[in-house]
């Protein structure tokens, strides 16, 4: 099949870059998945149905990977032969680690006291850090092409994303 040997950017006919036009991305995914979805091939031969499942699976995976900034950036690094996992292990900076420790302590404390205000201010702080990380990654990949440095920052971005979810959950638990 045509799809199998293409990277996700080529597959969805988008420029291979961190900055994406979200509407173009969504539109390309929708058009592709609509054309290959198994629902379009229900009355076809078993082989045709199998190929449809394979193609739709790939379209879904491309969409999932490219829509989220952290996974899109990790994918771009991987295309350049740089693994985010090993970069993250090698390059956790002391400053980042101590920031993480402070956040975690704040989250535990706010949870314990059911302190909504504290959680909301933590949520704002984490969101700002996330926006900053996304900007840094964009700069490292699109402007500098420094994938080693980008991979380290992506590792941090992923960490921030996971922590951000925990803060959101803690806030939900209060309501």
């Amino acid at each position: 099949m045509l799809l199998l040997d293409k990277n996700y950017f080529d597959l969805l006919q988008l420029p291979r870059a961190f900055s994406v036009d979200e509407r173009a991305l969504e539109g390309a995914y929708r058009d592709l998945v609509a054309a290959v979805h198994p629902d379009r091939f229900v009355t076809d031969s078993p082989e045709q149905r199998r190929l449809a499942m394979q193609a739709a699976t790939l379209a879904n995976e491309a969409w999932r990977c490219l829509r989220d900034p952290a996974s899109r950036a990790a994918y771009l690094c991987r295309l350049e032969g740089v693994s985010v996992d090993s970069a993250a292990r090698a390059g956790a900076s002391a400053a980042f680690l101590s920031e993480q420790m402070a956040w975690r302590e704040a989250l535990d404390e706010a949870r314990l006291d059911a302190n909504r205000l504290m959680l909301e201010s933590l949520q704002q702080e984490v969101r700002a850090a996330r926006d900053k990380a996304v900007r840094d990654v964009a700069d490292l990949i699109d402007a500098r092409g420094d994938f080693e440095a980008a991979a380290r920052r992506v590792g941090q971005l992923m960490y921030i994303d996971r922590f951000s979810e925990q803060v959101d959950e803690a806030l939900d638990d209060l309501s």
Binding site: M1, L2, D31, E47, Q48, T57, E61, R64
Partner: protein
């Protein structure tokens, strides 16, 4: 004068003739079948003009199996042989089944629980297939022809075992499943197409035995499920049970402080199975009465010729069921969080399922979302109607202005057991299906040649808190030092939400075999046995059935290939085309005979001979979709 054309038996003369496809809502309390006729969906009725078929199956002492209202009439007199709410036991083991506090006698069987009846031990799959057979007959009578296939709805929160059980029941009833469709998604289709709704839609679906919430995004003909949540063991039945428990306490049949009134009354002998069934039936009536009035009388004769008579006010009913309602709202809150929206972001809120008629449920939903919810399509019928629309589309009856795309998700995360009884999630919940994901694992000990793989479904971190789906063993790994082997485990979830798992050792290039043993659900052998038992044991009948199945498969492949050639024949060279034509001719010829094996061989030959054609057709579909975009972007 033109001669009349007579087609060969089984081969449709016109490949594009309308295929008969229906939507089936296989519900806990009631089941329905619907179809699109002259472009409008309608629920099909039986000869007494009843649309709802009570999901009740009775095994009579005359070896007769009755289904529906007639069976329901026997429910009190013959509780052990009259099965109600069987959906609650689909794909479930004996421990789950006992939790429901019913009067059935269960048999523990590997895989799924069995219910003891005078007709023998029945699996929930067999019982469900009796309901499906009645609906199939109703549809074929009503539509005047053999069914091409059906879309069967399942609760969105059904796990893999429950979905597989539903598909097996259809197979047992001789129904080709075009797709398993999630119930809230079916309802969203019915509402979306009816009202032309766009934007975010939240579907609140409280049925007889299951509860689902789905958040969808509707835009330009795409129904995209963003998140789904639920509780596959919460429904109207639980509200009935609360009334029974209340009545037992009020009458002093059990101590007021007794935590399990039904269980203790049954085991103390103060309540017979027939009494429990009678009280449950009366509880449902009382619950339904309280949707229209604020006071009713719970009145039920018992087998010792005494009677229970108690006034029940709506206020009291609301109080004894308040925690059930608040459980639904907790699930709604969690699902909105998964969808990353607030209550105020929901464009419309839709009520589905008979249990949403309860005023307390409506009030709770309205207060959570800050506005009343929609229920203008009958909540008992909306799922079947949506399923019929989808079935009509899938069967190939799409056309300009009647076309849409459905993107659904898996409700529960899928993962593997790792060291220490922990779960490694492979496919997270709310992933759009179909989806595939793979993960690499390695060996723990030097020289390890086998690896036990345990597939689980659920959100918790401990294996013991998740549902076990299957256990695999990967054997024949070449001896290596610990951590050197690279075992890739791949999960594939298809468009029905059904999972298949494969495992393979990578570094050595040795393909090791995979043995599957389903923890829940039925094995293929069991299904084959049931199929045989459901027909006469005479081998002539079995052969006739095997022949019929093979003929159906031959017809489907023949028709599919013809239709494909009509559109895409130019993808084949002349000589390739000639080969396909000769395979088609051979299939057509063997199809006329009665040699099952010969037909199977001809089907296989055509399938193999058209693989490259299928691949080119898919490439063309992809190129077209992408080419279309390029032109769009130039504009």
């Amino acid at each position: 004068m033109a001669l009349l054309q007579i087609s060969e038996p089984g081969m449709s003369p016109e490949p594009h003739q309308r295929r008969l496809a229906v939507g089936i809502d296989l519900g806990t309390t009631n089941s329905l079948v619907a179809a699109v006729r002259s472009s409008l969906p309608e629920v099909l009725e039986d000869e007494h003009r009843h649309a709802l078929l009570p999901s009740v199956v009775a095994y009579g002492n005359d070896e007769r199996i009755t289904v529906g209202a007639e069976a329901a009439a026997r429910a009190i007199a013959d509780p052990h042989n009259t099965i109600v709410s069987v959906k609650r036991f689909m794909g479930r083991g004996i421990d789950d089944a006992r939790r429901h506090r019913t009067a059935y006698r269960f048999t523990d069987a590997p895989g799924m629980v069995r219910i003891q009846t005078r007709a023998g031990d029945k699996s929930p799959v067999e019982v469900s297939s009796e309901i499906l057979k009645v609906l199939r007959r109703r549809a074929e009578m009503s539509l005047g022809g053999e069914l091409y296939g059906a879309v069967i709805t399942v609760p969105a929160y059904f796990d893999d075992a429950q979905r597989q059980a539903t598909k097996d029941a259809a197979r047992l009833a001789g129904i080709e499943v075009l797709r398993l469709l999630n119930e809230p998604t079916a309802a969203a289709i019915a509402y979306g197409l009816d009202n032309g709704t766009e934007g975010r839609v939240v579907v609140f679906d409280l049925g007889g035995g299951t509860f689902d919430v789905s958040v969808l995004h509707l835009s330009r003909g795409v129904f995209e499920v963003v998140a789904t949540g639920g509780d596959s063991a919460l429904g109207g039945d639980d509200f009935d049970r609360r009334i029974v428990e209340w009545a037992l306490r009020e009458t002093g049949l059990v101590q007021a402080a007794e935590p399990d009134p039904i269980g203790s009354a049954l085991s103390a002998g103060s309540l017979s199975a027939a009494d429990l069934r009678a009280m449950t039936v009366e509880a449902r009536r009382a619950k339904e009465a309280l949707s229209d009035s604020t006071l009713t009388t719970f009145s039920c004769p018992l087998s010792d010729s005494s009677a229970v008579r108690l006034p029940l006010a709506r206020e009291r009913f609301d109080a004894i069921t308040a925690d059930l309602v608040s459980r639904t709202i907790t699930v709604v809150r969690r699902t909105l969080r998964d969808a990353r929206i607030d209550a105020t972001d929901a464009g419309s809120v839709v009520l589905v399922g008979g249990a949403t008629r309860m005023p307390a449920t409506r009030a709770a939903v309205a207060s959570f979302f800050g506005r009343p919810a929609l229920s203008n399509i009958d909540p008992d019928r909306v799922v079947a109607i949506g399923a019929a629309m989808q079935a009509n589309l899938l069967a190939g009856n799409r056309r300009e202005g009647y076309d849409w795309l459905l993107l659904d998700v898996i409700p529960l995360s899928l993962g593997l057991e790792t060291m220490g009884g922990l779960v490694e999630k492979i496919v997270p919940r709310n992933s759009t299906i179909p989806v595939a994901r793979a993960q690499e694992f390695t060996t723990f000990r030097d020289g390890q040649t086998a690896l036990a793989i345990h597939v689980v479904q659920g959100e918790r971190e401990l294996v013991s808190d998740c549902r076990s789906l299957a256990r695999f063993e990967l054997r024949g790994i070449p001896p290596m030092s610990a951590g050197a082997a690279r075992i890739r485990v791949s999960f594939q979830v298809d468009s029905d939400g059904l999972l298949s798992v494969t495992a393979c050792e990578q570094s050595s290039g040795v393909k090791a075999s995979v043995a599957v043993r389903p923890s829940y659900g039925l094995s293929d052998d069991e299904i084959a046995n049931m199929l045989q038992q459901s027909f006469s044991s005479a081998s002539a009948d079995r052969d006739a059935r095997a022949l019929r199945e093979q003929q159906v498969e031959a017809d489907r492949l023949y028709e599919a290939t013809r239709s494909a050639l009509d559109v895409d024949a130019d993808l084949l060279t002349e000589s390739e085309r000639a080969v396909v034509e000769s395979l088609l001719a051979r299939l057509r010829e063997t199809r006329l005979g009665t040699d099952t094996d010969a037909i199977r061989h001809a089907v296989d030959a055509l399938a193999r001979g058209t693989e490259h054609f299928a691949s080119r057709r898919m490439d063309r579909a992809i190129s077209k979709a992408l080419a279309g975009r390029r032109i769009d972007q130039i504009d």
